[in-house]
């Protein structure tokens, strides 16, 4: 079944079909959503939050990325696309500090750094999901998502061991926030299930929840819809758009499904063999002959 694309209503905002419409309609009835969508539109044009300049990364003799430069604006959804092995995941890993590029500059929120520890990236508000799910298989869904907020906990070892007032209250406050994320992603029913027992699609959703629990300002998603059927993809798209519209989170996402990319992203970067071959709005990139040759093929 081909991706039918997202129907857009009169105001340009996505209208969802099926069961999601019920939820959507209910949400609209609550009021304020229209206002939020209007606000989201106004937020579209943001400042540059991330600027990557001449990034080159190699492993031994293998060049993963060669002289890549692009920027990401606040509140936008930026897609990175390209054939397998183009270096997309490596690009994300560079952004959040898992890999350190041999050359180039990374300017995040005005601060420049080339080498950053992933822990520091997390504390600066960058969260991410992984291509092969990186959930903590030994813990429940709730614990996994709570772990996403671990950096915000102030209670030390002794306070935790005694489980006295302040430690307890802090845990409950964070639990409250985590429950909001759980409600947002509609995974209430599975919160006490060990993640190892969940189907693939739900695991991806839990991973997204864990990233969201950290209240990030920038979210890096590595193929969030890989291996999902159409309905799951629709749900995931809805969530991603909701995150972007309601919370204003900047999103950088790697995705192979061209329909999804064209529909939800504001701007697209195209990589091929570690080099950038396209950069712009979805329509512009779709028409770019280099991109067509390397990636899209004649059919599109």
């Amino acid at each position: 079944m081909a991706w039918k694309g997202v129907e857009r209503g009169g105001d340009g905002q996505p209208v969802w079909s099926g069961a999601s419409a019920v939820a959507g309609a209910a949400a609209e009835l609550q009021g304020g959503v229209q206002a939020e969508h209007a606000q989201a539109q106004a937020r579209q044009a943001g400042e540059v939050i991330l600027d990557l300049q001449h990034i080159s990364l190699s492993f031994g003799g293998v060049k993963a990325l060669t002289d890549i430069s692009f920027d990401v604006r606040e509140h936008e959804i930026r897609a990175i696309i390209g054939p397998n092995g183009a270096g997309k995941s490596s690009m994300l890993n560079v952004i959040n500090g898992v890999y350190h590029p041999q050359q180039g500059r990374i300017v995040f929120r005005g601060e420049e750094r080339r080498k950053m520890h992933p822990t520091a990236a997390a504390r600066q508000g960058i969260a991410r999901t992984f291509q092969n799910i990186a959930l903590f298989k030994g813990m429940t869904v709730l614990d996994n998502i709570m772990t996403g907020r671990n950096t915000r906990f102030r209670s030390g070892l002794l306070a935790n061991a005694l489980w006295w007032g302040p430690a307890r209250n802090e845990e409950m406050r964070h639990r409250q926030k985590v429950e909001e994320v759980i409600d947002f992603l509609e995974i209430q029913a599975i919160r006490k299930t060990p993640v190892g027992r969940l189907p693939y699609g739900l695991q991806k959703r839990v991973e997204l929840a864990r990233a969201l629990a950290a209240e990030p300002s920038m979210l890096l998603l590595d193929e969030p819809m890989a291996g999902m059927n159409v309905e799951e993809k629709q749900d995931m798209c809805r969530f991603i758009l909701d995150v972007n519209h309601q919370f204003g989170t900047t999103i950088v996402l790697i995705e192979h499904d061209m329909g999804v990319v064209m529909d939800i992203s504001d701007r697209v970067v195209v990589l091929d063999y570690g080099k950038k071959i396209g950069d712009g709005t979805p329509e512009a990139v779709k028409a770019n002959p280099d991109v067509i040759r390397a990636y899209l093929g004649a059919g599109h």
Binding site: S89, N93, V98, F130, A134
Partner: protein
């Protein structure tokens, strides 16, 4: 100065014996990715089998062959009863299973073959080599040299085996990627049976050499444990690494035992022997901090 060389050579030679035990580890790890903590127990078990069978009246050559048969049975049973059931478990589980196996063998061995300390007589005497003694005034034990020679021969043969034979190549393929090897038609179960059989043979040789030197007793298992620092130094997957690691550990532990205690003694008085017990481990630990994969091991990269 000659004393130093004497200790050094003695250490190098005994180091080769450690290499022999480490070799068993490397074989199994290379072929099945399992870190076989029970290798030491296998050495003990094999030695016990030899003396046990001899006690029952068999001549030595028959006892050795019998012991080899026993080790093959042990290997195949381990593969079938333990490893096959734990195929998809994380490595730590397999490691703990081999700890269980080592305890099992350490109990079964004395139960079947008796637990009195018995020597193995290989006909090589622990006496200095006359020519070296007279010319260089260094004591080099005939036994140590012979043992080192046997160990070296075995290690060399195995290294060639791995590199140049069809079975050796298959073993390396299996160690790299089980699934891929399977899809190429390599019979996994046969390979593992072969590997554990060879590891059993190595354990037998090691058991006989060590048992000949110190008598077949429970302390053999602790000696075998020394193979772990050897592996750390040499890398878990390298046969030449086992040799080099063994040499280094053997030499350094003997030298440490001679030269470090006097330092403490002059400062604190009292007796500070027994450094051999922990020195290889601490040495390996420090080495790990500098080069985690060992001298010849493969670097492990986590793909995210």
């Amino acid at each position: 100065m000659t004393f130093f060389f004497e200790i050094l050579i003695g250490g190098l030679l005994s180091g080769l014996m450690y290499s022999l035990v480490a070799l068993g580890f490397v074989l199994i790890y290379k072929a099945s990715g399992v870190f076989n903590f029970a290798q030491g127990a296998m050495v003990y078990f094999a030695a016990l089998a030899v003396v046990g069978l001899m006690d029952k009246g068999l001549p030595m050559w028959a006892a050795v062959i019998g012991a080899f048969g026993v080790m093959v049975v042990v290997g195949i049973s381990t593969e079938r009863l333990v490893l096959r059931k734990l195929v998809n478990q994380p490595p730590i589980t397999l490691f703990m299973a081999t700890i269980g196996l080592s305890f099992f063998l350490e109990g079964l061995g004395p139960l079947l073959f008796g637990n009195e300390v018995r020597p193995i007589n290989l006909g090589i005497v622990d006496e200095p080599i006359e020519s070296i003694l007279t010319r260089f005034n260094i004591v080099v034990s005939k036994f140590d040299l012979a043992a080192a020679g046997i160990a070296g021969l075995l290690v060399g043969t195995l290294a060639l085996f791995f590199q140049y034979t069809k079975v050796g190549r298959a073993l390396r393929a299996v160690a790299d990627d089980h699934q891929a090897a399977l899809s190429l038609g390599i019979p996994l179960q046969h390979i593992w049976a072969i590997v554990w059989g060879v590891a059993g043979f190595v354990a037998l040789v090691a058991g006989m050499l060590w048992g000949s030197r110190n008598g077949v007793q429970f302390a053999l298992t602790l000696t075998a444990l020394k193979a772990l620092p050897v592996l750390i130094l040499g890398g878990f997957t390298s046969v030449p690494g086992a040799i080099v690691g063994g040499l280094i550990i053997g030499a350094s532990e003997k030298l440490a035992e001679i030269y470090i205690p006097p330092v403490f003694q002059s400062a604190f008085g009292g007796n500070f022997g027994g450094i051999e017990g922990w020195f290889p481990y601490v040495f390996a630990l420090l080495f790990l901090l500098v080069r985690p994969e060992g001298l010849f091991g493969e670097k492990h990269i986590d793909r995210v």
